[in-house]
């Protein structure tokens, strides 16, 4: 299976403040050989600027999938989720919450804010890799996403 045309690549926005996790996600995705482009921002405000194509993200693509951590500097994951899901143009972008919090309150609150799914970051390296790849596979190969505007 050859990688698809770069224009068809899945645009993934990773909102994550922990560079360690960013590296792990990149590692996992690199190995997966699925055509995608991973964009990374380190806080909630940057995520919203990215979506709004504000500086320094004037040329940013519209993401097909957002991987969102909950605990973020400036604007946290809940704030980002609220903004995305209440925005007329962004509300159809699937948001996967990827966090280390197992707290029930976080899970419930996230789904109430219309998160598409909630994933707890596994401790174990292999499991972590497996989860990231699964997410990628699921959203790239299995799910039919809304057409790009």
């Amino acid at each position: 299976m050859s990688p698809p045309d770069q224009a068809q690549w899945l645009q993934i926005l990773l909102v994550e403040d922990n560079p360690g996790d960013v590296m792990l996600v990149r590692e996992a995705m690199q190995d997966n050989k699925i055509g995608n482009q991973l964009h990374h921002v380190g806080d909630g405000e940057a995520a919203l600027r990215f979506l709004a194509r504000q500086a320094p993200y004037q040329d940013a693509p519209r993401p097909d999938l957002i991987l969102l951590d909950l605990n973020l500097p400036r604007l946290d994951g809940r704030g980002v989720l609220t903004a995305v899901k209440s925005h007329p143009e962004w509300s159809d972008i699937p948001v996967v919450i990827m966090t280390s919090s197992q707290a029930e309150t976080d899970i419930v609150a996230s789904y109430k804010l219309r998160a598409n799914c909630y994933v707890v970051k596994p401790i174990d390296l292999d499991q972590f890799m497996h989860v990231v790849r699964s997410i990628e596979n699921f959203w790239v190969s299995i799910v039919r996403l809304p057409p790009r505007h």
């Binding site: 922990n18 360690g20 792990l24 590692e27 280390s100 919090s101 197992q102 401790i123 174990d124 390296l125």
Partner: protein, 610 residues
């Protein structure tokens, strides 16, 4: 004695006797004359006979006269004696009458038929009759009409068995005066015979005065009693008439107003109370005299300088619709008032204290709330912030191990293993601590299905059960309890997990059962055939971070939180937990929990084996 009976002699007149005596005295001179005249008497027999006859007559007459004179003297003497006797008799009669009249009681004598034969003036006066009016009348006329009818019968019964009756022998008798009025009497009776006639002597005393005196004494005694009573009462007691003058006052008036109770009678309110107090009391006095009971409080100062708080009652004394005065009763409530004030003060103090305590408690509650929030924040931070770097450590050591393993020697690999292992243990520790912290914060729920909780625990332990080739038996039903379902699953998991972990050489055999059950709680037991716990350690194992095992292989398994968590879960629900073991032949962990109020909650017996 009749004086006429003394004239037994035939000479009816002294003149005749004297004549006859004189003729007798003529005989001797005539004899002499005859002799002198020389008359031979022997020849003159008739003369002789005449002379002898005359002489004899003279002798007889003289003797008779002599006798007569004697008799006359006797008669005179007798007459004098009789006169004396009569006088004495009269005097005796007089004395007798005087005596009778002098007796300070009425006396009357009746015959057998109850007719009055004799009576003294006292009695006549007592009954208001005139002298002589009662003579011969039946004694019943002296009785009231209501007792008159039965009296003849009583009289006859007395006469049939006469007995002297003393005065005042318990009878309530009355006499009736001529004018019809009655009066109380006492009557004494005695019976005797006089000249063969039965007589009854009655002594009658008018006891009106005595009765009156007794009544007066009774009244006086009553009044003394009332006074004593009133004086003993711990307050003012008095009576004031319509003219506001005192008619009665007890001793307290002296204490409170300085007026002798003996001199207070007849004095006016104003005089006793003083102008100022009188003016203050006047509306109440007028109210009472208008027939309205008055009740009010009054503070005033006694002559001794004591300030009294009093409570006064003025009670109108009404008779026939008119108020003739009012009763006064005043109680000293100074002490009561003082206590009331003290009570009010204490109440205020108490309220302040309660408020203070409440505010303290509120503050404490707020502090607790804050600390609870802090704890929750800590839990969250621990779950995220502590695990986050831990995950990094774990992940990257694994990544290094994987990617750069060929660059490490054995010692390096060993070091890497230690890092990985330490991170894993740290994570377990954090998770257990979090669970422990949360266990005490969630309130006990009304219902937890113990059988289901136990099955949940067994499912979670399935891998371990299989590894250890353990035999788990749940014997009998496990009743539902008042607890949180998840906490119960955790409890079973920890206890059964311990039984598997601290196994002996033999294959673990674990038996779960309910040892005891009453209407409110049940005792659950988990019995194993493990290594047991020595009695000296049994209290310690339920404390946080207390571990007994020295075997390094086992040390790595536990965090020292499991049993502390069990204890916290059980005690939060109001139960107790303990262990029974001789330190050689396994252990039995027991815990009590309150039963669920829902009776249909008991699960059927089930068994799980592995």
């Amino acid at each position: 004695m009749n004086p006429e009976s003394a004239h037994a002699f035939p000479v009816r007149h002294p003149l005749i006797a004297a004549t006859l005596g004189g003729l007798g005295l003529l005989v001797p001179p005539m004899g002499l004359l005859v002799w002198l005249c020389g008359i031979d008497l022997a020849h003159r027999p008739l003369l002789l006979i005449l002379l002898i006859w005359l002489g004899a007559v003279g002798v007889i007459v003289s003797l008779t006269i002599h006798r007569l004179l004697h008799t006359r003297e006797d008669l005179r003497r007798e007459h004098i004696r009789l006169g004396q006797q009569d006088h004495e008799l009269q005097a005796a009669m007089q004395r007798y009458r005087q005596t009778l009249d002098a007796v300070p009681a009425g006396m009357l004598l009746t015959d057998a038929d109850g007719r009055i034969v004799m009576l003294n003036t006292h009695l006549i006066g007592m009954f208001g009759y005139d002298a002589g009016e009662l003579h011969g009348r039946p004694v019943e006329c002296l009785l009231p009409e209501r007792t008159r009818a039965q009296h003849p019968q009583q009289r006859r019964s007395f006469m049939s068995a006469p007995q002297t009756r003393m005065m005042g022998a318990g009878r309530d008798l009355h006499g009736r005066r001529k004018d019809g009025s009655e009066f109380p009497v006492e009557v004494g009776l005695c019976h005797f015979s006089s000249d063969g006639q039965a007589r009854v002597l009655a002594t009658v005393v008018d006891v009106t005065l005595r009765r009156q005196l007794a009544q007066a004494e009774q009244v006086a005694e009553r009044e003394r009693f009332i006074r004593r009573l009133a004086d003993q009462l711990p307050g003012l007691v008095g009576y004031w008439d319509a003219g506001q003058r005192c008619r009665f006052a007890n001793r307290v008036y002296q204490e409170w107003f300085g007026i002798d109770p003996d001199t207070i009678i007849g004095r006016h309110s104003r005089e006793v109370l003083g102008d100022e107090l009188y003016q203050r009391n006047l509306p109440y006095i007028q109210g009472a005299l208008a027939g309205q009971p008055q009740r009010f409080e009054r503070t005033f100062t006694t002559p001794a300088g004591h300030t009294l708080h009093t409570q006064a009652h003025f009670i109108p004394d009404e008779s026939n619709g008119a108020v003739c005065g009012y009763f006064v009763q005043v109680t000293d409530v100074t002490e009561l008032r003082r206590r009331e004030d003290e009570l009010t003060r204490l109440k205020a103090d108490l309220e302040m204290l309660v408020e203070q305590r409440t505010s303290e408690l509120r503050q404490r509650a707020n502090e607790l709330q804050r600390s609870n929030t802090a704890l929750e924040q800590f839990a969250y931070a621990a779950s995220h912030d502590l695990q986050e770097p831990l995950r990094m450590v774990t992940s990257y050591t694994q990544l290094i191990e994987r990617r750069y393993n060929h660059l490490l020697d054995d010692s390096g690999r060993q070091m890497m293993h230690y890092v990985v292992d330490a991170a894993r243990r740290m994570r377990a520790l954090i998770n257990d601590l979090l669970t422990y912290a949360r266990a005490g914060t969630s309130p006990a729920k009304p219902h937890a299905d113990m059988a289901q909780a136990c099955q949940t625990a067994l499912a979670l332990l399935q891998g371990q059960i299989e590894r250890e080739q353990a035999h788990i038996e749940i014997s009998g039903a496990l009743p539902a309890v008042q607890a949180d379902q998840a906490a119960m699953a955790q409890l079973w998991q920890n206890l059964i997990g311990n039984a598997l972990r601290y196994r002996s050489a033999a294959a673990p055999r674990v038996r779960v059962h309910v040892r005891e059950r009453n209407s409110t709680q049940a005792t659950f037991c988990i019995n194993d055939n493990g290594i047991g716990i020595a009695p000296q350690h049994q209290a310690r194992i339920f404390l946080l971070f207390q571990r007994l095992e020295t075997d390094p292989a086992r040390r790595h398994d536990g965090t020292g939180i499991g049993l502390a968590l069990c204890r916290r879960v059980v005690e939060t629900c109001g139960g107790k937990i303990w262990v029974e073991s001789d330190g050689l032949h396994g252990s039995t962990f027991c815990f009590t929990l309150p039963l669920s109020a829902d009776p249909a909650a008991d699960s059927p017996p089930s068994a799980s084996e592995a």
